[in-house]
């Protein structure tokens, strides 16, 4: 397969073979790597949640949890429990080692689409339909947001864990679970679909149904919009230094530079090598390496500050649907056939 034409010379030295593959059985909807860097949790559209060892891809446990599909998985910051949500009105907190239920959280609506631990670990937020419910880590209900104008399409904790941002039609709202009110909001007349908070908390970016990326500077609410994407730039990723925002929305990945005066009025770094639409983008947790996966069934690794050519590549079986970095140098790619492949970026 002559896929990556611009990787040269001696392409083979840039190819990363999969270290292991795991068959999850159905479309991989989401993945989460545990904070101890030992396990990956995989959610599938058939409703199963699998937990697999990062070392060799061996299955630790599988639970058929949601009859109509699983949407998300998220490890607790201490790695002791896994939070999973899906289309059956609930989110589940499961034991790390066995997958047994520790407790269930009632989502208050049929589709629990998002479930995330606050980074400090004390609070859990789950979103179903137009409401978000907050729980204490032991499962005790804390509060519920008022019904929003439209379905909540994304939730994202501020890196310090004290505030949750939610996206829906009409803007971004911020919630402080300790106070129980919407502290502030950034309004914008459009349908927002995903959120990404810069690690330094200064910028929050959102993908829009109108094929644009909208972002706000959180200090003063000043906003900008990056338009011209041929498709919805659903996947957004910040690098660890909050200096680069990578976006999907085309077969070319665009990386906006937030380090200088920009990105307003500047041209993005264009990373062009995929043959089909990019589906996910993710920066390494500490290094400036970007991974992109695509409908063309490939993984490309980039160092955008250094070169606009990919620095390594790998192949998966189908349309890539999920992407995650391990804490070290592993890259996990899930696809629509249900395969999860683990690559080594080194």
């Amino acid at each position: 397969m002559a896929l990556v034409s611009s990787v040269e010379p001696r392409a083979s030295q840039f190819e990363r073979p999969a270290r292991w593959k795991f068959d999850a059985g159905d479309y991989v909807a989401a993945m989460s790597v545990d904070p101890r860097d030992e396990l990956v949790a995989i959610a599938t559209s058939a409703g199963a949640v699998h937990v697999v060892r990062l070392a060799d891809g061996a299955r630790l446990w599988t639970r058929e949890l949601f009859s109509l599909g699983a949407h998300g998985v998220d490890w607790s910051p201490d790695g002791a429990t896994l939070l999973a949500c899906g289309q059956d009105r609930f989110a589940a907190v499961l034991s790390r080692d066995s997958g047994d239920h520790v407790f269930k959280l009632d989502g208050g609506g049929p589709w629990v689409e998002h479930a995330k631990h606050a980074p400090h670990g004390r609070t859990i937020a789950i979103a179903a339909g137009k409401i978000v419910r907050f729980f204490h880590r032991d499962g005790a209900p804390l509060l519920e947001t008022p019904r929003q104008a439209s379905t909540i399409t994304a939730i994202e904790w501020r890196p310090d864990g004290n505030e949750l941002a939610t996206a829906c039609y009409g803007g971004v709202h911020f919630w402080t679970p300790s106070r129980g009110i919407s502290a502030r909001q950034f309004l914008w007349k459009g349908s927002l679909l995903s959120l990404a908070w810069s690690p330094d908390t200064k910028v929050i970016a959102a993908a829009s149904q109108d094929c644009s990326v909208h972002f706000w500077r959180t200090v003063n609410g000043r906003d900008s919009q990056m338009t011209g994407y041929p498709f919805k730039p659903l996947a957004l990723a910040w690098d660890a230094k909050s200096s680069m925002l990578a976006t999907s929305g085309d077969k070319t990945a665009l990386v906006w530079d937030f380090a200088g005066k920009g990105p307003e009025g500047t041209a993005p770094i264009e990373l062009e090598a995929h043959r089909a639409l990019i589906t996910k983008v993710a920066f390494h947790k500490s290094r400036s390496i970007l991974a992109t996966v695509s409908e063309d069934a490939s993984l490309l690794l980039w160092e955008p500050r250094r070169t606009q050519r990919p620095v390594a590549f790998g192949f998966v079986d189908g349309v890539a649907s999920a992407l995650a970095w391990t804490r070290s140098t592993g890259v996990l790619v899930g696809d629509d056939s249900g395969a999860v492949a683990c690559f080594d970026a080194q």
Binding site: Y27, S45, G69, T151, Y169, K189, S191, D210
Partner: protein, 454 residues
């Protein structure tokens, strides 16, 4: 069941609309319980009473939002985008998706979702919009509700339901009225939403040309009358008699025909005299006289039974009677002084505009000359930009100049999608284009259409 578009692997979606109580849930239950072997996913706006094993029923939150900051023609259903996206991921794919809307919903945003969102467009095709029409209550709703008129206008299939609750005459009147608004929808009559499945699902292959064959008058200019008949009359007094029917009055216009009695002469006479057919015609009580001059008169049929008017003929010759409705509906008869029933020597059925009080109508355009693709693009583009809000549906099968395949276009408001279809083969290359909309200007559309012909 035969697949509508063989090459199209996308999952067909049927949208079910209709006012509360029109029978949507009954139809849905019928579809789900019938042995058709299809795996169906139903997207509802609220949990209904449906609980069928073979189907997946999903609760949606009818959520309309605007794309591109405020253009009404780009409103879409956000919940549908998400739900259809999640469904498409599943390995156990569905053969059919049915979207049920709330009674008052405007079908526009649902339909537009299938034109606007790339991900939805990639995996699904809008197979058809099925509107259930409650025969008993719809006539009043059509008088006072934009939503009801829109639901009729958007439909690919109109199910006239609950016919057991109305008389045949009322059913006929309703059919005429909805036909006047939407001339190309397939019309199915039903009680208890009992409809053959192939009439509502997989209608993508539903051929526009067949609809047009059935109602050829729809392609002609519209007139305020539905029928014209030429009678050969002697000088003296004749009688025009009518039975009471679905309407309280029926308008009539009588004119001398100087030339001949033929289909062509009738059409020429219609063009010459239609302006005399006035909307607020004088109401003429039974027993009074109709003269072959002056504007049309509205014959008073408010009391039950058979009524007679005198038809005064100044001199022997051919006379054309233009009638607002079809003669069968009111048992129209012309008799001479000896009470002999006279047969017309020529008749013609006209496309009627008398439902224009609904403001929603259809205009069909047709040509045997090929269509110039660039001119068509320019014309349609301008038309949709300027009139998109009022255009509910656009459908066409076109013979483009220099192309061997049929070119099929489908549109909702400002959004139009065109794609090449099967080759024409031996079929006559006839282009047909239909608009259903509010306050359509037929002559402007005809002029635009003519400018696109190669």
């Amino acid at each position: 069941m035969t697949r509508g578009a063989s090459a199209d692997k996308r999952i067909p979606v049927t949208v079910l609309t209709g006012f509360l109580g029109a029978g949507k849930t009954t139809l849905l239950n019928r579809i789900l319980t019938e042995q058709h072997g299809l795996r169906i996913a139903v997207i509802e706006n609220e949990f209904g009473e449906i609980g069928i094993d073979q189907a997946l029923v999903i609760d949606a939150d009818e959520e309309v939002f605007e794309m591109n900051n405020g253009c009404i023609c780009c409103t879409v259903r956000g919940d549908l985008i998400r739900i259809l996206g999640a469904l498409a991921r599943r390995r156990d794919k569905f053969d059919q998706v049915i979207v049920e809307t709330t009674g008052l919903a405007d079908p526009g945003p649902v339909a537009q979702t299938f034109f606007v969102d790339e991900d939805v467009k990639d995996k699904y095709r809008l197979d058809g919009i099925v509107t259930l029409v409650d025969a008993r209550h719809t006539p009043t709703r059509l008088d006072d509700s934009d939503e009801a008129r829109q639901q009729i206008a958007f439909a690919d299939v109109l199910v006239l339901n609950k016919l057991d609750l109305v008389s045949d005459a009322e059913a006929d009147a309703l059919e005429r009225r909805v036909r006047g608004m939407n001339a190309i929808a397939r019309l199915v009559r039903a009680t208890n939403a009992k409809v053959p499945l192939d009439q509502v699902l997989e209608i993508g292959g539903f051929d526009l040309s067949r609809a047009l064959e059935r109602k050829p008058a729809f392609l002609e200019p519209e007139y305020p009358f539905e029928w014209g008949g030429v009678f050969s009359l002697d000088a003296g007094e004749h009688t025009l008699s009518l039975s009471s029917g679905p309407d309280p009055t029926a308008s009539v216009l009588v004119r001398r025909e100087p030339h001949e009695a033929s289909d062509a002469s009738l059409r020429a006479a219609a063009e010459e005299h239609f302006r005399a057919f006035v909307r607020d015609a004088e109401v003429l009580a039974p027993g009074r006289t109709i003269a072959p001059e002056g504007p049309s008169v509205a014959l008073d049929l408010r009391s039950e039974g058979r009524h007679r008017w005198t038809l005064s003929v100044p001199e022997r010759g051919l006379y054309t009677v233009f009638f607002e409705h079809t003669p069968e509906e009111f048992a129209l008869a012309v008799t001479d002084a000896r009470d002999t029933v006279l047969e017309p020597v020529a008749t013609h059925a006209f496309a009627a505009t008398h439902e224009h009080s609904d403001r929603v109508s259809s205009v069909g355009l047709r040509s045997e000359r090929p269509v110039d693709e660039r001119k068509l693009d320019a014309w349609i583009g301008k038309l949709l930009r300027e009139k998109g809000v009022d255009l509910f549906r656009t459908k066409g099968i076109l013979a483009l100049d220099g192309r061997d395949e049929r070119y099929v276009i489908q549109g909702v408001h400002m959004l139009v999608d065109g794609r090449s279809d099967r080759p024409w083969g031996d079929e006559p290359r006839v282009s047909e284009l239909v608009f259903i909309g509010r306050d359509l200007d037929r002559s402007a559309l005809e002029a635009g259409w003519r400018s696109c012909l190669a």
